[in-house]
Subunit: 463 residues, 2 copies
């Protein structure tokens, strides 16, 4: 690139960074403009939505509700009681799906849940019954619930119950089992079922009693602190889990002195224990932001292991889906990409609420778990400011000068920039019964966002 | 600055950064050389020490011992038993000092310790007896011990006992009382004494029993983790305290089910609880590095509230002192700089071991406590690489790409660069009985380092 000008050149650079950097190297002043090509084929829909006079105020309302939620952990209860779940009904992560289209880990988790509930004699029997349509499958999201990975919830499982003290909503998430061979990653062996039974017999009731004595627990306060302690609250929850344990430990002792040690040891053994309260907290905030007419803000991103789906505030309960991708990351032991199932789980509710992949700059150590280096983590967060409506007032990143996390994904900004949300996630083995094989980063399918964009255009009010 | 040359200029820049930056602005290539003016009057001593043929190997040995220590918390015991401390003998922070030269907070803490031990009828009586020389004052450091702030230890106080599994040494530190009106900050009112009695009656024995059941605790592992969770382990110990609580909680419950809740509640109420095990851990490593002939590495930095003193590996137990400075930082409530006592405490053992001020880049959130902004914290750590002998193999900073913390202060590097160690610290009220008034940063007096340098020159072997 050569410039022959009489005066000082004034250069505006956009798009690929290479030209701009070449000018920098020649000490030529330039004005960088953040412009990227929009998603192909979105121009007409974008024009219509951007002309919708409701949009700006609707998005301001939606994101204000999302960030002002004050989620508090108020109890722990069995799913049958808390959600009115009938035996034979199973909740699962992501948008609606049938047994026929379900991936290995979801099938494995459903098989395990059938065994746990005593609805099948063995794994083969469970699979036959599931294939015969004897079980009813419904998305967690349709029941104010989120579930990590396969996200399977059955009547006897105990659930975290979170109340949004600002808007009054309630949300639920199951209790975290730990790592390795666990139901949510599709394992269903005897060790899995034994642990789930202990969780129902001991962990759930003890936590419930502790919360009656020492609750509610201010989740927003713990989450804000944890972001200053190296968590991004999706794949790294070590700080939050630690803060949760130390806050609840005295009440656990007082509520159940004879079971307290084993409960505290179980929680201590699992750095992801607090992921599930985080997910319920994010769900409470996202649900408070639903159903704002004209809003283009995403209120759910979720995967069932086959499809990646999103829901949008201004579009009610409709799902917009595309094929779930396979995460790119680090694998455990001898596992490799050939063992990986496509992206699965409701844990993308964290990214929906400005955490997880969006908050990776707060968690430089996470690159040891999901791959990449520290500058990648910072770059991921920085890029998410381009597709979000706000910076979170309470969830701040010290390394970025206490800037709030990017929060409130705007479908129109995704379409205009072509930037897809950054998601970091665990990777499930694709064969039912395997368990976790790794962790990494994944992009949602652009198709989910373009489908939502088309629906928003159809629903747009005339200007 | 104007350069008229035929070819491309090759410029070497050193010293003040301004000239170099001006060249950068003109896109002139330069080779920056890290050179700063040495401390005045040190040239002759430096020349003699740098010619000492023992120096390089001695420093390699000393710093290798410092960083290879494997401190483990093995027990909690009363000072009288653990240290053979006689009634009427009191340990204090920093180099040796008399009552006459002692500052307000040290006098306050000694007064409180006299009352705690039943050696005086009231505060006035205690002060008269102390002024009359009825008590024996000795530095903690002379008893394998470190104490935060005033650092006063008396016979009935319970102590963390740390064993270095690599080199076999043992070190001690008192139990942390919490913040506000506490003995170590010079307060000695009834609430202070009541808490100390509870710590002796309940906290110490319960922790001792828990460690017998669930110990030892690997302090190196907790400290390495905490650096990845936003602690620098001097003024920010929230992550380490949390990790310590969750690790020890099950054993606390099993060892003392009826007192576990109050002990866990006390630990949870104090984010600095783990500072004291950290200090003992650092002391164990620094003591392992003592007495290497020819080594110019600092093995202790400590302040008694009047003097700042250092000890050097190659110079035995000699202290080299200068006047303690007043920290510059943030004040609590209505307190201001006029209320601040000069720098006090043995907690600079953390900086001696490559933590605290040296590890601030790991703890961006600490700037909310000690002042400055996040870039100051990073700059502090970066500058400390210039005066240290190694990067710690286990204590890493994620935000610097997992670089090890700068560790092993070399007196000759301090003299050559004029860079003094960065210390971050709590600030005690200067009036006895006040307590903590703030937290901030402080520089040690250059005189302590030039005095040590002169002694090293005298002791240098001929080349």
């Amino acid at each position: 690139m050569t410039l022959h000008l009489d005066g000082e050149p004034v250069v505006v650079t956009a798009g690929a960074g290479l030209f701009g950097e070449a000018l920098d190297a020649q000490a030529v002043a330039r004005v960088p403009v953040d412009w990227r090509p929009p998603l192909p084929g979105t121009a007409a829909a974008l024009a219509r939505i951007l002309a919708d006079p409701r949009r700006a105020a609707a998005n301001a309302t939606a994101v204000a509700r999302l960030v002002s939620a004050r989620p508090r952990l108020v109890g722990v209860r069995p799913a049958g009681e808390a959600l009115g779940l009938a035996p034979g009904t199973f909740l699962h992560a992501g948008p609606p799906i049938t047994w026929e289209r379900a991936s290995g880990p979801l099938r494995g988790a459903l098989t395990g849940a059938m065994l746990l509930e005593g609805l099948a004699a063995d794994a083969g029997d469970a699979e036959r019954r599931l294939a015969a349509g004897e079980a009813r499958l419904e998305p967690c999201h349709h029941h104010r619930t989120v579930g990590p990975m396969a996200g399977v919830v059955s009547t006897s499982m105990w659930m975290f119950e979170v109340r949004d003290a600002e808007h009054g909503g309630t949300s639920f998430c199951s209790l975290n089992e730990g790592l390795g061979k666990v139901l949510r990653y599709g394992a269903y062996g005897e060790e899995v079922l034994t642990r789930l039974r202990w969780m129902g017999d001991v962990l759930g009731p003890v936590l419930a009693a502790a919360l009656r004595l020492g609750g509610p627990v201010d989740l927003r306060a713990i989450m804000a602190q944890a972001l200053q302690m190296g968590d991004e609250l999706h794949n790294r929850n070590r700080a939050a889990t630690s803060l949760f344990i130390r806050e609840l430990a005295p009440a656990i002792v007082e509520a159940a002195p004879e079971r307290a040690a084993e409960v505290l040891r179980f929680m201590h053994g699992n750095d992801h224990f607090f992921l599930n309260p985080v997910m319920a907290a994010c769900k409470a905030g996202a649900d408070a932001a639903r159903d704002v007419p004209g809003s283009t803000m995403v209120v759910a991103m979720a995967r069932n292991g086959t499809d990646f789906g999103i829901q949008v505030s201004g579009l009610g309960d409709r799902w917009f889906t595309g094929p779930a991708g396979v995460p790119d990351g680090l694998y455990l032991g001898a596992y490799g990409p050939q063992d990986a199932n496509p992206d699965i789980g409701d844990s993308t509710i964290t990214e929906t609420a400005g955490l997880g992949g969006f908050a990776m700059a707060a968690a430089p150590a996470i690159v040891r778990f999901v791959g990449g280096d520290v500058s990648d983590a910072t770059a991921a967060t920085r890029s998410m400011y381009e597709i979000t409506l706000a910076e979170h007032p309470a969830y701040q990143i010290p390394g970025l000068g206490f800037r709030g996390t990017p929060v409130g994904i705007d479908v129109t900004l995704v379409a205009r920039t072509g930037l897809l949300p950054v998601v970091n996630t665990g990777i499930a083995g694709r064969v039912a019964g395997t368990g976790q094989v790794g962790a990494g980063l994944v992009s949602p399918p652009a198709a989910a966002f373009t489908a939502a964009l088309d629906a928003l255009a159809e629903a747009a009010a005339p200007c």
